[in-house]
């Protein structure tokens, strides 16, 4: 039996969701998605529908995060938790190669890039944008072999946001909340009525169509499509935060001496949480791990953060010794120089850095404070 066509829309009953999960596994995918652990909604293996955060939501705030019971039994009724999908494409700690020394030389063996094909279930619009941002980092120049292999076998199942958190500002960043057609392999919209719990399923790619083979679907009714659109529109109008991004590159690049950097540095602990929670932060360091005999060595790559003193270590010491200089680097890179490097912002408006900052530093507030002092003195920032 052939699957539905790319661009087609269908209805999937909540009762048929286990069949959908089974179909993903049958097509060779290991499913990862939201699950409740340690009083947070994190990503983990999904084998059964009961692994999903049924009836749970979360409340991200500045420096706070709580999960709560919902009045309904939604599967995807939360916002975003501490995890981002980058851990699956760009692992926090990854072996890159192994080398062995012999009498005359050494031989480098690449790390195998095979592994399970992952289906990411419950990708938000901002998170799809974040994957695209990291694609430009790891595939744009010299492609990273591991990233490329994982990316090529990835299935992205988006779920439209039915609500926005107090920390959400994807509308400001132009990344959501709606998932554009073909931006994901499949896009689901969860619709809950007193009498019916079901999903609108939009097919974005041929692979998305393929994994729906054998899943009980019916053509989407016009009212279902309208209800889904209305839900996303309501989410768009309830963003908890906003950021004025007009001229933001020059706003930050031209003001490295703005007094606000010192103000925020009095609160910033330089703890690196924002960079680790961020779905686009890509900085890494390398580790050389020799065996005791010294004949064999492993090269590992580990997530690093521009907030550490050692990040800019040279023979003359660290280039960024003060917390102010490190916060300035992070924010200026994320929102300004990222445009020079990759042609887009490095921020997708997910709000994780606000939530997981132990002191609740809010980048939207910092940008507003810098903007409040007026436009930069000179019209054109150096490029």
């Amino acid at each position: 039996m052939s699957g539905p066509e790319v661009g087609s829309r269908h209805e999937l009953e909540r009762g048929a969701f286990p069949a959908f999960l089974a179909s993903l596994e049958r097509h060779g995918y290991s499913v990862v998605g939201p699950t409740v652990r340690d009083q947070a909604i994190v990503y983990g293996e999904i084998h059964r529908v009961e692994d999903l955060p049924i009836g749970w939501t979360d409340r991200p705030g500045a420096g706070s995060y709580r999960i709560e019971r919902r009045a309904d039994a939604a599967l995807f009724g939360y916002n975003v938790g501490p995890h981002s999908w980058k851990r699956y494409l760009y692992p926090a700690h990854e072996r890159l190669w192994t080398a062995e020394r012999d009498a005359s030389s050494f031989t480098v063996r690449p790390e195998p890039t095979d592994g399970p094909a992952l289906a990411l279930l419950g990708v938000r619009a901002c998170e799809l944008a974040a994957i695209q941002v990291q694609d430009r980092v790891f595939l744009g120049g010299a492609p990273d072999p591991g990233y490329r292999a994982r990316r090529q076998r990835l299935l992205r199942i988006a779920v439209q946001c039915g609500q926005a958190a107090a920390t959400c500002f994807c509308v400001s960043m132009g990344t959501g909340p709606g998932v554009a057609p073909a931006a994901a392999d499949l896009a689901l919209t969860e619709l809950i009525r007193p009498e019916r719990h079901y999903f609108l399923v939009e097919v974005g790619t041929p692979e998305g169509a393929r994994v729906l083979e054998g899943v009980p679907l019916r053509p989407a009714a016009v009212e279902t499509e309208r209800a889904a659109e209305a839900l996303v529109a309501a989410t768009a109008s309830s963003m908890g935060r906003t950021m004025d991004t007009s001229g933001i590159r020059d706003l930050l690049v031209l003001q490295p001496e703005h007094p606000r950097w010192e103000v925020v540095a009095r609160r910033c602990l330089s703890c690196t949480n924002c960079t680790l929670a961020c779905p686009t932060c890509f900085c890494s360091t390398t580790e050389e791990v020799p065996t005791l005999s010294g004949e064999r060595v492993e090269r590992w790559r580990r997530w690093d953060s521009c907030f550490t003193l050692g990040f800019t270590e040279l023979h003359s010491g660290s280039a960024r010794r003060s917390t102010a200089s490190r916060y300035r680097q992070w924010l200026t890179h994320k929102l300004a120089t990222w445009h020079d490097q990759f042609g887009s912002s490095g921020c997708v408006g997910c709000g994780r850095c606000i939530t997981w900052c132990p002191v609740g530093i809010d980048l939207t507030e910092e940008v507003a404070a810098i903007r409040a002092t007026g436009p930069p003195a000179t019209p054109e920032a150096p490029r």
Partner: protein, 284 residues
């Protein structure tokens, strides 16, 4: 000519290639010049003066080191390494026969083509002479392309001057002026004492038609570039080789960012016109 090296960077961009140490000679108390060649017998990779490689000491790690040999020679790759950290100390201690890893070359080179027909000023500080030596070789290889060539080289002391015998040969040439100055010296030093900018008034060049190439400590480059600009050299014709921490050299690790640039990719050589606002910012 040895065969062209096989490329496997597409498969494994971060893997070093084994190179054997042909020669290892002490340059100064803390620097060593290494001559390397691929263990496979292949030619070394072509490079542009100003580019760098990631050098790897097995089991210890990798660092970015500029290439300091002759661009025309493909039978040996030359690097001058200053022992300052764990990896560079291991590299500087390498002996002939030992195998090190190399990947590269990376980064922007000195834009020498733009200097054709005009005067050239080279200013080096300390080990900053290392990435400038291939440029000097190129200047001499095509000396007819340029008008005046002025080289100013400064170091902490006479003992810290790189390539001393070669420097003496350069100084004997009548088609170049090579000024050497040190911060401090004993009574056996008959040369100049003072920072490199103090030698600039004696250098003869037409600022409107001059291209300058600078490498050394950041403060030395900043002050030298400003002095050249004050003399009338266009900031777009003054080039600096910048240094920052580097892990990957392929614009993926984030460490070498300086303003909007990855110094491993857009740099290390960038124009003063481009760098000036960023150099003026502390802790950028």
């Amino acid at each position: 000519m040895p065969p062209e090296p096989a490329r496997r960077d597409d498969d494994l961009p971060l893997a070093p290639h084994p190179y054997r140490v042909l020669e290892a000679g002490p340059e100064t108390a803390d620097t060593t010049t290494l001559a390397l060649a691929p263990v496979t017998g292949e030619a070394t990779r072509a490079f542009a003066p100003g580019q760098f490689n990631m050098l790897y000491a097995f089991g210890i790690g990798e660092v970015a080191i500029s290439i300091s040999g002759e661009p025309a020679r493909r039978d040996r790759l030359v690097h001058t390494v200053r022992a300052v950290g764990k990896v560079s100390t291991a590299l500087a201690a390498a002996r002939p026969g030992q195998v090190l890893g190399v990947r590269g070359p990376y980064g922007s080179g000195w834009p020498l083509a733009g200097a054709d027909g005009g005067d050239v000023v080279v200013m080096a500080g300390g080990v900053g002479m290392a990435p400038l030596r291939p440029l000097v070789y190129e200047l001499y290889a095509h000396r007819e392309r340029y008008e005046r060539v002025e080289v100013i080289y400064g170091s902490r002391s006479p003992k810290d001057l790189l390539y001393y015998p070669e420097l003496q040969r350069w100084r004997r040439r009548t088609d170049t002026r090579v000024q050497v100055t040190v911060d401090s010296a004993g009574r056996d030093w008959y040369g100049d004492v003072g920072v490199v900018t103090t030698r600039l008034p004696d250098a003869r060049f037409d600022p409107a038609r001059t291209t300058a190439f600078l490498c050394g400590p950041e403060i030395m480059m900043r002050l030298s570039a400003q002095a050249l600009a004050d003399r009338g050299v266009a900031p777009t014709s003054i080039f600096l080789s910048m240094e920052r921490n580097m892990k990957c050299a392929i614009a993926q690790c984030g460490h070498c960012q300086f303003g909007p640039d990855f110094l491993c990719r857009e740099g290390p050589v960038l124009s003063y016109a481009h760098l000036k606002p960023f150099l003026a910012t502390r802790e950028l």
